[in-house]
Symmetry: C2
Subunit: 573 residues, 2 copies
């Protein structure tokens, strides 16, 4: 995962998440044991809606869809489909909703999303006393190891308007470490025990770009600003098994709520993979998870030894490697200096030789290689290495190797990406988050090859769209909006930021459906609604292709269906 915001990180990123609603069903059990056996829909169900976009070129728009045994049985007019479904079919009328094929986020991080979701939510709390009250009554899922975590406080909402301190927390939590991030993710409120475990004392220096606020005698007050938060983050313990399961459950439920039927997890740790494997075997995993093995850590060796895995809902046949850092922190590796920092070009995190060795090892084992590359230099190295290694392993087309982010690219490299048959895995909301400052980083020339979706398409590359959650919100409707507009939520700038690179509504929808399916070797089973294909779809209150685009980010996800099962519904029946 790329932590792209200054002072953000896991504790900060959670601020982006909306709170959980309560209508999601069939969650994996938190106790980590096998859940109930799967209950396939015994009968046929017919879904009727004002508009069903199938992405089937033969029948792009229909009114009804029959589902049986987790597959699409038929599509067509209400009459056609009812006839095909038989008399005892259950009929669900979705009214004015638009149904589209199941949306897949082609680049997210489930474990990170879950870690953020379970912490105590302090947003909108009016007094410090109320915040302390909420923290004191936190559920066990809000803990990571012994640490109690929270997010969202804002001292400006409190009468006194002054920063809280460790003393406020110490009275209630004398021995348990507590860390609560501010609403904007730029400060952390911790207690004395947290300071102790992080080794933060009056002698600790403020790290670069960070502040340890200090009171009388130079003692830390318990407020850590910006990069000083890293001193805490670095010592946060791993979650216990139960906490880990609770975090992952929260992430899977949240995905269903926002309209996702599948996620490509961009660098899964072995522990998360093992847990999902267990759930998948038990039939309690209800989201399609296409996992990229984490190729950065020691887990790599185990993944390489075990080779790809194909389960029911869980597939692991890709590996994620990272070549450089992010643009925001100027960690992206550029060919030439940053326009706003002369003398600095970012850093490659692996030497090209080391990267190539890893690529060849994974390709030889049958893995698809997915590489994080933000800067133009990183993208050049990826294309050089992938081309050579794919040729050597005979996986040039069959491998469907992916460039994750493909963010700043030389124009000739964009052409090369498409010509080579590689996939561009891009995140529309990264463009709209970065647009206020991206051009300052790279200047007016290089920006032409940045977030250049139409140029990537023109090169022949398949686009797989994602969000990079929890760095951005996992809200896929916001992703469709950003792809179509290249504007912020207020509709600025007019015409969109380098608006000629916008995607049409149809192209954006394809990126989150057939594009993502292709990028995970699943285009024969998913991404379109055709008889025989998986019954994965969502019903939305706004048509994402032709509906009013400004209503898209706030639209309602009325129903999420995966393999014929309703995993989320927001409407009253």
């Amino acid at each position: 995962m790329t932590l792209r915001r200054l002072g953000g990180g896991l504790l900060g990123a959670v601020l982006l998440l909306t709170s959980l609603s309560s209508c999601t069903r069939r969650v994996p059990p938190v106790d980590d044991g096998p859940g109930p056996a799967p209950t396939p829909t015994a009968t046929t169900t017919v879904y009727v809606a004002q508009r069903i976009r199938t992405l089937d070129p033969a029948k792009p728009q229909v009114q009804a869809l029959a589902v049986k045994d987790g597959k699409v049985l038929a599509t067509g007019t209400r009459e056609e489909v009812l006839a095909a479904a038989g008399q005892d079919a259950r009929v669900v009328d979705l009214g004015s909703a638009t149904v589209v094929p199941g949306l897949t986020d082609a680049h997210g991080h489930l474990a990170g999303l879950g870690r953020g979701l379970v912490t105590v939510d302090l947003q909108g709390v009016d007094t410090k006393a109320e915040a302390l009250e909420r923290v004191s009554s936190a559920p066990s899922s809000a803990f990571q190891g012994e640490w109690l975590l929270g997010r969202g406080w804002d001292q400006n909402d409190w009468p006194e308007k002054t920063f809280p301190s460790r003393a406020d927390l110490d009275a209630r939590f004398p021995t348990r470490p507590v860390a609560l991030s501010r609403v904007d993710g730029h400060a952390l409120w911790v207690n004395g025990e947290a300071l102790r475990r992080a080794g933060i004392t009056r002698d600790t220096k403020d790290p670069a770009g960070g502040r340890i606020l200090r009171g009388e005698g130079g003692e830390p007050t318990g407020i850590l600003v910006d990069n000083a938060m890293g001193l805490i983050e670095a010592v946060l313990p791993p979650a216990t098994d139960a906490q880990h399961a609770a975090q992952l459950t929260a992430a899977l439920n949240h995905a269903a709520q926002v309209g996702l039927t599948g996620v490509h997890d961009a660098g899964m740790d072995l522990r998360t993979f093992r847990l999902l494997q267990r759930w998948d075997k038990a039939g309690t995993l209800k989201l399609r998870v296409y996992a990229m093995a984490d190729g950065q850590t020691a887990d790599r060796e185990t993944y390489l030894k075990d080779g790809p895995h194909e389960g029911k809902m869980l597939t692991l046949r890709a590996v994620k490697l990272s070549l450089d850092g992010a643009l925001g922190s100027r960690g992206a590796a550029l060919h030439q200096d940053y326009s706003d920092e002369p003398g600095h070009r970012g850093l490659l995190l692996l030497s090209p030789e080391e990267y190539e060795a890893r690529v060849r090892a994974f390709m030889a084992k049958g893995f698809q290689v997915c590489t994080h590359a933000i800067g133009d230099r990183a993208n050049t190295v990826v294309l050089d290495v992938l081309s050579r290694a794919a040729e050597a392993t005979g996986t040039r087309q069959s491998g469907r190797h992916r460039v994750e982010h493909a963010q700043i690219m030389r124009l000739e490299d964009i052409d090369r990406l498409g010509r080579s048959g590689f996939i561009a895995s891009v995140q529309p909301t990264h463009a709209t988050s970065d647009m206020p400052w991206a051009e300052a980083r790279v200047g007016p020339e290089r920006i032409r090859g940045a977030y250049a979706w139409q140029r990537l398409k023109a090169s022949g590359a398949v686009l797989a769209l994602g969000s990079d959650f929890p760095v951005e919100r996992p809200n896929v409707l916001a992703g469709l909006y950003a792809a179509r507009t290249r504007q912020d939520l207020r509709g600025l700038p007019e015409g969109g930021w380098y608006g000629e690179q916008r995607l049409s509504g149809q192209e954006a929808l394809e990126g989150f459906t057939v594009g993502a399916a292709h990028a995970s070797f699943a285009e024969a089973r998913r991404g379109r609604l055709q008889p025989g294909m998986d019954a994965d779809f969502v019903a939305l209150s706004v048509d994402p292709v032709d509906g009013p685009v400004s209503e898209l980010p706030g639209a309602e996800v009325r129903l999420t269906v995966v393999a014929g099962e309703e995993v989320h519904r927001a409407f009253q029946r």
Copy 2:
């Protein structure tokens, strides 16, 4: 000190420094004992130069200057001055040089500058072996505590072009911690002992915006990128007394070399103050140091109890408080959201109430109050509080209270600053360093009140100019260049960034001389070259007022004279 760059900090900031040349004389002794007694120039010396800019309105340009007993004896034509000086006067012909009153950096950090200067310099080293050789033969001054520190390596200059690792260092330094920062300040190369002391293991999480590079088994390789450097910086021990003295000596010598005769130290720790006091008493302190007591740490209480101090070269009668962070890291406190980060407005580091309490306590003890304020909200709070407190303590005009940075201000607050008689202590090179991205942070409206030197002057405010070294280079000629051009060193953008806010050559020179003198209550003794005033001056190879501005940053400082003593000379006699 404001650490304004991502991943910069003390280890990073040192990269900005040029290496020491060897012609500076009369350094304070490194062994921390009293040095030799001062040797005032017994005879009169007459300096002759092509142009001497006195800033004396009655005689703005002269050709000669006589010095006796540390004071200016006379200025005028060669003949006039020789006549006044008497027959046995020593005559120094400075040839084509331009002499100006001693330049004072009104905002710098001597201890920080010194810490950077003494580390092992690895810039331009061609092989890793050579880098290791240099580190192995480091002088004792390159250590801080037991830590051996260096800077400036670049693996791209080495044949293998791959990152070095802890193993390279461990072979030579099995038990001594070593930390070496990369040429761009964005990565740190450390050994195993450094990792151990910082508690960095395979279990340590990457902090937000930082990376701990990892090898087989997930073990840290010894390369820490961006914010991961903070884990090391936070545990760096304080310097020993001898190291502290060596660091400070390096800073004082460097100041003389770059043409500074005085520095306003913006937040001096008590230990540095005590050492300078000792040197001042012994007569070995040769730079005029106007110290602001550090009002952020526990040292505050001691300073407050002891009250102001007036020595020979060392004065302490100001206090430095900090209200907010920096613009680069979005720590500056704004009234409205950051233009490039909706929902975030930065943070006040002290509540207005706490700030006011400190201000009143120091004002009541006779201190000038100098407050770091970058964002428009911080500046509003400073003006609100200073106005009230100055009124209450009767120090509205006499107190000469200062706003340090005064960087982003509402236009009405700019007017208020000048009307209130407060001083604007601004840093020209901050504007030219920040110009690539500052407008992205605050947008086109607020930028009108940012780095707005002419607006500040028009309000009636005195401008005192500085550099904020070691955040920027201490090169005062670069400061004069930035003030006159608002351009980078390539001369871009044409006409200067918001060029109407540029200072003329005369105004820029005044900011580093009479402006700084006024801001330290010294305008009757320094800032101009008039009979009876202190003989502080510098001889430059380029006229900073009318000379070709593009030659200014690289111009030669031929001579630096403080109180009649030549503390640096670059020319052959």
